[in-house]
């Protein structure tokens, strides 16, 4: 039986085309909103280098979740109550972050050790509590398990709506305070200098990170939620240098990954949602790593080759202008020149080459002189010897060089 004809495939198509029922659609939509919020908030978590702190935080929520569940059953709730569990998760996550801070204040404990210690031992405590809960006959205890690796398919519609509303709220806050977050992330001193409350902005950003982590626990699971915060921004980073674009792309990647992951967990019920979401996001990241036009591996390699050939062409034209018409030795460069119509059959310069040679030569000389004099005033992102020096170099530098030549 081929995969196309299989029951799983039919189910997958059904889920993706939103025919799996009202409940499933709500859960998938809610998860997508969560993914968008995580991608956008994660952009700042990632830019501030806080990725691993979020990892410690998410693992530290486990004892709180289980204790909140125990408190809930003691108070007589029949099934697990999501808001109560989220409050427990937040409190215990915050205790974990505070413990981490306290540890890093001690001279011989570095941040990485503090993160590892909190992550491991809080999770250990959570596992002990979880093993206790499993011996009880309280209702809903099986659902606690989903907080580890995530299980969207087990979510109730009301839970999905709660999650979507909270995530949308976080998303709106980021959009409203985007300017503040961006400046605080990139130029703290300047932001502080113009009188912005940098610490408060930082705190707000951290709080949003905590909020998204906690909201996403049930869907993605606490083991992998950090991936939803970090992988979409890393994927987005390959596409642009502009924070706005990065945040937007990260939001879209996050939403798509979350939707795909939730859909996959409906189609293949044994696959934990968190793993499916992270794999989807990972696929986006791998694709971007290779194929993003400007910063992807292929794009960067192609641009480097192009630069090498263009520079070789400029140098050859310059030597033609100075009377040396010998063809370059590199066969690749020769082919490039022939393709550009600059050399004829015998490797001799064409009329077009002779016509453009003097201008190219003057331009190259300007570049060489500029680099020898004031390399620091060459702006970033220009192509040495290829771009028109008069257009991209500071005019005073050009004037200085030409004044000296005259």
């Amino acid at each position: 039986m081929t995969f196309i004809g299989s029951e799983a495939f039919v189910r997958l198509v059904e889920v993706f085309t939103l025919q799996a029922g009202y409940n499933a659609n709500t859960v998938m939509a809610g998860t997508a909103v969560l993914g968008a919020a995580a991608g956008v908030v994660g952009t700042f978590v990632f830019l501030r280098g806080r990725a691993l702190i979020s990892d410690a935080l998410s693992h530290a929520t486990l004892p709180g979740i289980v204790l909140a569940f125990l408190a809930g059953s003691a108070l007589g709730f029949q099934t697990r109550s999501l808001p109560l569990l989220l409050v427990g998760a937040t409190l215990s996550g915050l205790v974990g972050v505070l413990a981490m801070h306290a540890l890093t204040r001690i001279r011989r404990i570095t941040e990485d050790a503090a993160i590892g210690a909190v992550l491991g031992s809080f999770f250990g405590l959570g596992v002990v509590l979880l093993s206790y809960v499993q011996t009880l006959s309280a209702g809903g205890q099986a659902g606690l398990h989903h907080f580890l690796l995530g299980q969207a398919a087990a979510m109730a519609r009301s839970e999905a709506i709660t999650i979507a509303v909270l995530a949308a709220f976080a998303l709106i806050l980021v959009v409203l305070f985007f300017k503040e977050f961006r400046l605080a992330a990139f130029d703290r001193e300047f932001a502080a200098g113009i009188g912005w409350p940098v610490s408060a902005i930082d705190l707000g950003m951290a709080a949003l990170g905590v909020a998204v982590t906690v909201i996403g626990l049930q869907t993605v699971g606490l083991v992998m939620i950090v991936a939803l915060l970090v992988v979409p921004p890393v994927a987005a980073r390959f596409w642009s240098n502009d924070v706005k674009v990065i945040a937007l792309v990260a939001g879209v990647v996050g939403a798509f990954s979350a939707f795909t992951g939730a859909a996959a967990s409906y189609a293949f019920t044994s696959v934990p949602t968190g793993a499916a979401i992270v794999l989807a996001a990972g696929a986006f990241a791998v694709f971007s790593l290779f194929f993003a036009p400007k910063r992807g591996i292929i794009g960067v390699a192609f641009a480097a080759l192009r630069f090498r050939l263009d520079l070789a062409q400029a140098r050859w034209l310059s030597s033609v202008a100075k009377g040396n018409e010998a063809a370059p030795r590199d066969p690749l460069v020769r082919a490039y020149l022939r393709m550009a119509g600059l050399t004829g059959g015998a490797g001799m310069p064409t009329a077009a080459a002779r016509a453009s040679a003097p201008e190219v030569s003057r331009n190259l000389d300007l570049w060489i002189a500029a680099l020898a004099r004031r390399p620091e005033s060459v702006p970033p992102g220009v192509r040495f010897g290829i771009d028109r020096a008069r257009d991209v170099l500071p005019s005073d530098l050009i004037a200085e060089i030409e004044g000296r030549a005259a």
Partner: protein, 309 residues
């Protein structure tokens, strides 16, 4: 007595050797500020372990370690790529690679075939101390009976052998490892291949992670790697005494943690057993917390005492 020999002794000894192996390797990681390498490795090796299981069809240690080593190398290459081409800071690069590989491992686990060899996400998350049993034990005599000893649980034997090898290597190359860890340049000028020893220590950490992984789970390995070593660093001033203290703390947490989890609830009147690996990790965290509270290296207790009233 037989129950103790069959169930508690092998599990406690497995826990003991797992914490010892981790504390030994963790010492170097903590000193080199590479504590999170353990976290990354313990997650990233999962797909390799699953592939090792699937290809060999057994839970023998060697295919598992080979698969894990392959995955660890792949993870290192990927982290390098993401950092180099994504111009991403190391923490995020690590985070991306290890979570994605872990997710891949979890999905592979769920795709049926791994169930044959009885490996599931629960085992990955909490370990399987509770399933380490020595059925051949029929009484105290079994402890000196070669036939019964040959039936000792595989996890226990793997961990004990790994610990012995790592401990012997550490003792043998003590001076070289010490100098390479603290002063790589001095080591090079003395003719010691510092990079070789640094790589060796990383490799030891990877092996420690993989062999303890099965017993205590991927996340708890991190606590075992970091907590005893970090606590020892607050107590001891010399490298040798730090290692000794870390091993002592590790041994104590393993025995005390196992005892508390297995017999604690019964002593309090509840006939249940708690998760031993989790208890050991939590206890290791508590010990670090106490050490941090009272340390003279900036601990809150000393700081408060130093303040004039």
């Amino acid at each position: 007595m037989t129950t103790f020999l069959q169930i508690d002794l092998p599990a406690a000894l497995t826990a003991l050797f797992a914490t010892l192996v981790c504390a030994l390797a963790g010492n170097f990681l903590v000193l080199r500020r590479e504590a999170l390498l353990g976290d990354a490795l313990s997650h990233a090796v999962l797909p390799g372990i699953v592939v090792g299981f699937l290809l060999s069809g057994t839970r023998a240690a060697l295919p598992m370690i080979l698969g894990a080593a392959g995955a660890a190398v792949l993870a290192a290459v990927l982290v390098h790529f993401v950092r180099r081409y994504g111009r991403v800071e190391p923490g995020a690069a690590l985070g991306v690679v290890f979570t994605v590989m872990f997710a891949l491992g979890v999905v592979m686990l769920e795709q049926g075939a791994a169930h044959r060899v009885d490996l599931d996400p629960d085992c990955v998350l909490y370990g399987q101390l509770e399933t380490v049993i020595w059925l051949a034990a029929q009484g105290p005599g079994s402890l000196i009976d070669p036939a019964a000893l040959a039936q000792l649980p595989r996890e226990l034997v793997t961990l004990a052998v790994t610990f012995s090898i790592l401990a012997a290597l550490t003792a043998w190359f003590w001076k070289e490892i010490k100098i390479s860890t603290f002063d790589p340049e001095l080591a090079t000028s003395l003719g010691i291949p510092a990079n070789f020893f640094r790589f060796g220590v990383t490799l030891a950490a990877a092996v420690a992670t993989v062999v303890s992984f099965e017993a205590v789970g991927s996340i708890l390995v991190v606590a075992m790697l970091v907590c005893p070593a970090a606590a020892a660093r607050l107590v001891a001033n010399r490298f040798g005494s730090q290692l000794a203290v870390a091993l002592a703390i590790a041994a104590f947490t393993a025995i005390a943690g196992y005892t508390a989890a297995a017999f604690g609830p019964a002593a309090l009147g509840a006939p249940i057993a708690l998760n031993a690996a989790g208890m050991i990790a939590a206890l290791a965290g508590c010990i670090l917390g106490v050490a941090a509270l009272f340390t003279r290296h900036g601990g809150p207790w000393r700081r408060a005492a130093a303040q004039p009233a």
